[in-house]
Amino acid sequence: MFGLFSQIGTVIVMNIRSLPQRLWMSLAAVLAVSVVVAVLLSFLSMSNGFASTLDGTGSDSVAIVTRSGSQSELNSVISRDSVNIVSTAPGIATTTDGQPFYSAELYVVVDGIKKSSGTEVNIPMRGISRTGFELRDKVEIVEGRVFEPGTNELIVGQGVLGQFDGFDLGQEVTFGKTRWSVVGVFSTGGSAFESELWADARMVQDLFNRGNSFQTMRIRLAEPGNVDGIREMIENDPRLILDVDTESDYFATQGEALQGIVFFGWGISIVMGLGALAGALNTMYTSVASRSAEIATLRAIGFSNLSAFFGTLSESILLSLVGGVVGALVSYLFMDGLTTATMGPGFTQVVFTFELSPALFQNGIMLALLIGLVGGFFPAWRAARLPVITAFQKAT
């Protein structure tokens, strides 16, 4: 067994040392694999970043009530009456002055200009009350101040500032016939709320002609994760055509729609991977052909065909591994931490950051190794079956 390892080691060393003889072809194989891995990781880091943003948005301590069957906050409607009834449900935490701890919120769409493309996009604007601030754990005013209730003032999430034009502190913005002043910038710890504009709920109701209705109701739970009391009340009261869930479950469900990005990323990477595989096969067949006399000579000396097989396979895997690492590094350098905005599940823009996690890096390397393994297997098989007589053929 030791002899076999030393044989394989020798063949690997010889193959690697002879790489400069096939420099361009080897580089092409490395490049092809690196492009595949970079593309895959770009998609996956985008999906990962998006999912993280939505995951970070939801809290287990907060329940969200929406109209039954509504697929997003945008197409949900809840009347004031419903809000009042639900606020008496069991399991709702109370504020310091003994009132039910909830926030009835509006969620409307306004126009914004995306900095990167200059195109007009939908930005969510949330009508919120003071309780809405208190209900969310990580809200922080990082610049300016909070809007004054009853005025046309708004505050913008940090994500909005980076991705969209016209929302700088002190600026005036016009939505339809209404004008608003930007008086503050807020942070929510990187969640999807940072992609929103916040203003006084009553002002949003008035200026967007929403009467006395809301889109959602957020409730601080007395016991985190337990919405049973609220759900039971909703189910037993025929006036309430509503759904309730914890905020974390709600956003997790919304994030599942983003699985399409993952499937698309894998799909396009597999198609490109087939191209890289063809490149790897070509490189390795050329490698075997150019070293046929050497392989046959080693076999004549007494080296086993396994050493020829594993030596060739190792070369292919090594090239693919280099390609995989290069692709992952490129993806890391250019994608990781990149902030962008895209259409979220509510047909509004969600600002998120690409996240290249170790698990994704591992996926990229595994794909590269798979290309190397399959791309090297058949040439390695040929190397192992190369007739020993080839060593003599140049001489005859």
Partner: protein, 229 residues
């Protein structure tokens, strides 16, 4: 002297398209231990095929090949590789050195198939290179050596594991006369002083004179055998 090789009723042929081509129909020969045999003949006479069968890199389609009391024509590919590693040293016309390994590493290759320690391998490599007068070139790459020096490295590689048999396929075919004579004298020394059995295929009558006997092949048959004084 004991018989090292014995070929009994060897048949060898191959199929090319729809045509069956016969190289040997009933070949019989013996080679004794310590012999130095030159095999000559025109192209297509079967001399390289014979050498390949003796070296276990090609199998006869019929008959038997015996080496030192062991029948080798029926060994599996893996066992033949082991048999070659233990018993045969090959010397090729174009040296067949590994271009990416220096002289010492090239010579060491057959020893990687043994259980010798690294230290022992190094010692044996030095001995073999000293024998071919290239100890001072151990670290040189093949591309840094002349044809004659490369062939001497190939000889060192062939003898480093101390095989009984050396098979040489046109070992001087790529060398000038003076260098060829130098290589042939070295083979003669290995035969006479170290009792290596050598079978050498050659086109060169001058090279054949270094052997103890010359076998002439034509169309797969021995047509003449001459002993060299």
């Amino acid at each position: 002297m004991s018989v090292l090789f014995e070929l009994k009723n060897v048949v060898k042929g191959f199929v090319k398209g729809k045509e069956k081509i016969s190289i040997f129909e009933d070949l019989n020969m013996t080679i004794e231990e310590g012999d130095f045999v030159a095999i000559m003949g025109p192209s297509g006479s079967g001399k390289t095929t014979l050498l390949n069968m003796l070296g276990g890199v090609d199998q006869p389609t019929g008959g038997e090949v015996w080496f030192d009391g062991e029948r080798i024509d029926s060994l599996s590919e893996g066992n033949l590789a082991k048999w070659r590693a233990n018993n045969v040293g090959f010397i090729f016309q174009f040296y067949n050195l590994m271009p990416m390994l220096n002289a010492a590493r090239n010579v060491e290759l057959p020893l990687l198939l043994t259980k010798l320690s690294g230290k022992q391998r190094k010692k044996n490599v030095e001995t073999a290179l000293t024998l071919v007068e290239l100890a001072d070139r151990a670290k040189h790459m093949p591309s840094e050596m002349s044809g004659g020096q490369q062939q001497r490295v190939a000889i060192a590689r062939a003898i480093v594991s101390d095989p009984k048999l050396l098979l040489c396929d046109e070992p001087t075919g790529d060398l000038d006369r003076a260098t060829a004579d130098e290589i042939l004298r070295m083979l003669q020394l290995l035969n006479q002083k170290f009792n290596k059995t050598i079978v050498m295929v050659t086109h060169d009558p001058a090279a054949a004179k270094y052997a103890k006997r010359t076998i002439h092949l034509d169309k797969g048959e021995f047509v003449e055998e001459e002993l060299v004084a």
